[in-house]
Amino acid sequence: MLTATAIRKSYAGVRALKGVSFDLAPGEVHALVGENGAGKSTLIKIITGAVRADDGALEVDDEAVDLARLTPARARELGIAVIYQQPALFPDLTVSENIALTLEHGGAWRRIDWRARTDRARDLLARAGAAFDPDRLAGSLSMPEQQIVEIARAIGAGARVILMDEPTASLTDREVDRLFDVVRTLRETGTGIIYISHRLDEVFTLADRVTILRDGETVMTAPRGAVTRDEVVRHMAGRELATVFPKRAVTPGAVALDVRGLTSTTAGVFDVSFTVRRGEILGLAGLVGSGRTELAELIFGLRRPDRGQILIDGQPVTIDRPADAIAAGLAYVPEDRRRHGVVLEMPIAANTSLANLAAVSRHGLVQASRERALAERFRQDLQIKASSVVANAGTLSGGNQQKVALARWLATAPAILILDEPTQGVDVGAKAEIHGVMQAMVERGMAVIMISSELPEILGMSDRIAVMREGTICAIVDRADATPERILALALARPAAEATA
C-alpha cells in the first residue's frame, strides 16, 4: 500500500539518504531499524511531508505521489500518520482539541462543535485503551498519556499507514503491552504500520518484516522468521558485535555513598535507603515513573528532599544544590541528553569543561588552551567521533553526544557517578563503548549508579540491582540471583513474584 523507491536527500551537501527503498503491505507491521544517523528519521520526515526529498518516488495505494509537493496536510489526506517519541502536543489546549486539530477538516471559519469534539475524543481514547478526561489540558498529562493522545489522533484519522518513531522509549512495560495490543488491533483492521525502535525485542515480538538501514541505504529487508537477532545487529552495525557486556568482576571497596531514608513527597520518592561501594555498579531498575530519575535528582541536589540523610565516605553531607553535590564528589549524567546532558550550540570543549570550569580557569578566567587540552584528552579516551573539539556538540550523532555528556562528568573526577539511561537512543557501537567506559571507571575505584529501562543492560552491567516501585526501593538483588523475570516481577509487583522476593 506504500512503496518508496530510491529516496535521496542531502542536507547542505551531506547525503543523509543515498537511495532508500521500502514498501509496506496492508495489515503489516514493518520494523525499520538502524543505528542513529542511518537515515530513519529523515525517511519518516519525507514520507510525512515534513521534509522534501531531493529525488525518488513514493506510491500510496498504487498511485504516484508528487514528492516535491508533499506537505504534512497532503500526507494526512493520503492516510499517513506519525507518532513521535515525544508527542507533538499543544500543552495549553485540551486533549479533545489536541485530537480535533489534526482530525477536523473544513473551512477555517466554520463553527466548532465542542460537544462533538469531546465525544469523539472520549471514543478515540477508549479505542486507544485509555479513559482520561478529554477536557484536561495536554500540559497536565504524563508522557505515556500524551502518547496515547497521539495514537488516538492516528486512529481517528483513519490512518492506513501509521509511522511509530520509538514509541516505547518512555513507556512502562504495562503501557508497552497496551500499546502492542493497540498495534495488533490496528493491524487486524488492515492498517500498515512502520515501526521504528532500538529495542530489538520489541521488533521481534511485533514485526512481520524488518528493514535495516545503514548510512542512508537499505541493507536488507526480510520476514521476521528469516532473520536472527544477531544478523540484524550485524547488519545494522556492519560488523560483528560482542553481544556480551564487558563486565569483569571488581572487588568492591569501602562504602562510597550511603543514602538513608530519603523522602520527597513532591518528587514522589519515599523512604529510600541504599549503599554503593567503590568499584561497584548498582543498577537501578524499575518502570518509568517509579521514581528512579527523581531519586537521582534528589541525591544530586536538583530537588530538595523533605527528610533523609546522605553520607559520602561515611560523612554526612548537606546537598542543597548541584554545586554541593559536585563538591562532594558526585556526578550525574542526566537522561534527557539534548536538553540536559549537553548544550548543543556549544563546542565540545566548552561542554566538557562546563561542570568543572575551575579546572581550566585561573582567577575566574577560562584558559582556552587548558580547556582544549582537557576536551582533547576525553575525545581520545572516549573515542568521540568529531572533527575537532571546537565543533558544536549539536553536530554530533546521538552516541557521540552522550559521550560528550559523559566526558563532562568524568572531567570532574567524581567518586560516585550516576548514569541515567546512559545508552538510550544510542547506536549499538557507541553503546558498547559506553559500557566499556563504565567498566574502566569501576576498575579505577569509582562507584557507579546506573538507571536503565533496558533489562539486559541492567543484568549485564550491574553488581547489584535495586528495583524501584512506586517511589521506593522494593528490593536489592545480587547479580548472581538476578534473572530478567525476577527483576521484572519486582518492578511490576505481580503477586506471585512478591511471595518469592
Binding site: 489534526t102 477536523e104 477555517a108 463553527r111
Partner: protein, 323 residues
C-alpha cells in the same frame, strides 16, 4: 470547578477591579456617576481595541511593540485624507486598511523571514514614528471637516455607536478565538508551533494575519480616538504599546503564547484604564500613578507564576521560550 480553575486569571482581575471599585464607592462615590463612567469608557475604547490586536499577536507567541507608531500614522492619515476632501465613509475604511498594511509588513518579516518579532517591531516602531515626525514636522492636522468629529454622529449618539462597534468587534473576535478553527489555530501556533505545523496549520499565515489584524485594529483604534476631537496631533499614541502589552499580561495571557483570553485582556484594560482617574478621585498625587501601574503589573505576573507553578507542566516545550 474546572471552569473556575481555568478562568482563575480573569477572576482575580475581576476581584481586583471590584476591590478598587469598593474603595471608590466608599471614598469617592462620585466616580460612579454615569457621565464619569462614560468618559472613562470612551477614553479606554481605543486602548481596548488596540489591546485586542495585541492579544491576538501574543496568543500566537509573538509581540508587537509598533502599535503606538501605527496608531499615530493612521490618525494622521485619516486626518489628512479628511482635510483633503475624501468622503468620510472612505476615510473610515482607509484608516484600518493603512494599519493593516503596516501590520502586514511586520507580519511578513516575522512570518516569512522568521525574524524575532520583538526586533522587527522595535525597528518599525522607531522607523514609522520618526518618518511621521519628519513628514509632519509636528504640525497638527487642523481644519477637519465638520462631520469628522463624532464621525457624522452627535456627541450623544457617538459613544453609543462606538460602544456598539467595539462590543460587536470584541464579541466577534471572542467567538472567532473560541468557536472557529481559524482562532484555535492562533492558540495552537502559540502553544506549540512545531506541533501546529505537523497538524497542518500554516503557522506562517497565522503569524502574518495576526500582525495584519493587530495593525488593522490599531488603525481602527486611531480612528475612534481621532473622532473624539476636532484636531489631530501627530505625537499621539506614544507609549501605547506598553499600555497595551501591560493590559494583556495583567489579563493573564502568557507572553510565550498559547494561553490567554480576550475576556482577560478586556478586564486588564479596564483595570489599568480606571486606575488613573481613580487615583485622582481618591486624591492620590498624580506623580505616583506610574508606580501603581508598575506594581499592578508585577503583582499580576507574580500571582500568575505562582499559580502556574502548582500545575506541573510535563510537556517539554519544543522551542525555547521567547522573551
Amino acid at each position: 470547578m474546572i471552569v473556575v480553575a481555568r478562568h482563575r486569571a480573569e477572576l482575580s482581575i475581576a476581584l481586583a477591579i471590584a476591590g478598587l471599585g469598593l474603595v471608590l464607592a466608599i471614598r469617592a462615590p462620585g466616580f460612579f456617576v454615569a457621565g464619569n463612567l462614560l468618559d472613562v469608557l470612551l477614553a479606554t475604547l481605543p486602548v481596548l481595541i488596540a489591546a485586542i490586536g495585541a492579544t491576538l499577536v501574543i496568543l500566537a507567541g509573538e509581540i508587537d511593540i509598533s502599535v503606538g507608531s501605527i496608531f499615530a500614522v493612521c490618525s494622521v492619515t485619516a486626518g489628512v485624507l479628511a482635510v483633503a476632501g475624501v468622503p468620510l465613509p472612505l476615510v473610515v475604511l482607509i484608516a484600518p486598511l493603512v494599519g493593516a498594511l503596516l501590520g502586514a509588513i511586520n507580519g511578513a518579516l516575522v512570518a516569512w523571514l522568521s525574524l524575532p518579532s520583538i526586533v522587527v517591531t522595535l525597528a518599525t516602531m522607531v522607523a514609522w514614528r520618526d518618518a511621521l515626525r519628519w513628514i509632519t514636522q509636528g504640525a497638527w492636522v487642523q481644519g477637519l471637516p465638520a462631520g469628522f468629529q463624532w464621525l457624522g454622529l452627535s456627541q450623544a449618539s457617538y459613544p453609543v455607536a462606538a460602544l456598539i462597534v467595539t462590543a460587536g468587534l470584541a464579541l466577534a473576535i471572542l467567538r472567532g478565538l473560541t468557536q472557529v478553527p481559524a482562532g484555535r489555530a492562533i492558540y495552537a501556533t502559540g502553544s506549540n508551533a512545531e506541533a501546529a505545523r505537523l497538524a497542518g496549520i500554516d503557522t506562517r499565515r497565522v503569524r502574518f494575519w495576526t500582525f495584519a489584524a493587530a495593525g488593522a485594529l490599531a488603525g481602527l483604534a486611531a480612528l475612534l480616538n481621532a473622532a473624539r476631537f476636532s484636531q489631530i496631533p501627530p505625537n499621539t499614541g506614544l507609549g501605547l504599546e506598553m499600555q497595551v502589552i501591560a493590559a494583556v499580561v495583567v489579563g493573564g495571557a502568557a507572553i510565550t503564547g498559547g494561553r490567554g483570553s480576550l475576556a482577560g485582556t478586556i478586564l486588564g484594560v479596564v483595570l489599568l484604564g480606571m486606575l488613573g482617574p481613580a487615583l485622582t478621585f481618591l486624591g492620590v498625587s498624580a506623580s505616583w500613578e506610574r508606580a501603581f501601574q508598575g506594581a499592578i503589573i508585577l503583582v499580576a505576573v507574580g500571582v500568575d507564576a505562582l499559580r502556574a507553578r502548582r500545575v506541573t507542566t510535563m510537556v517539554p516545550r519544543r522551542e525555547p521560550a521567547r522573551v
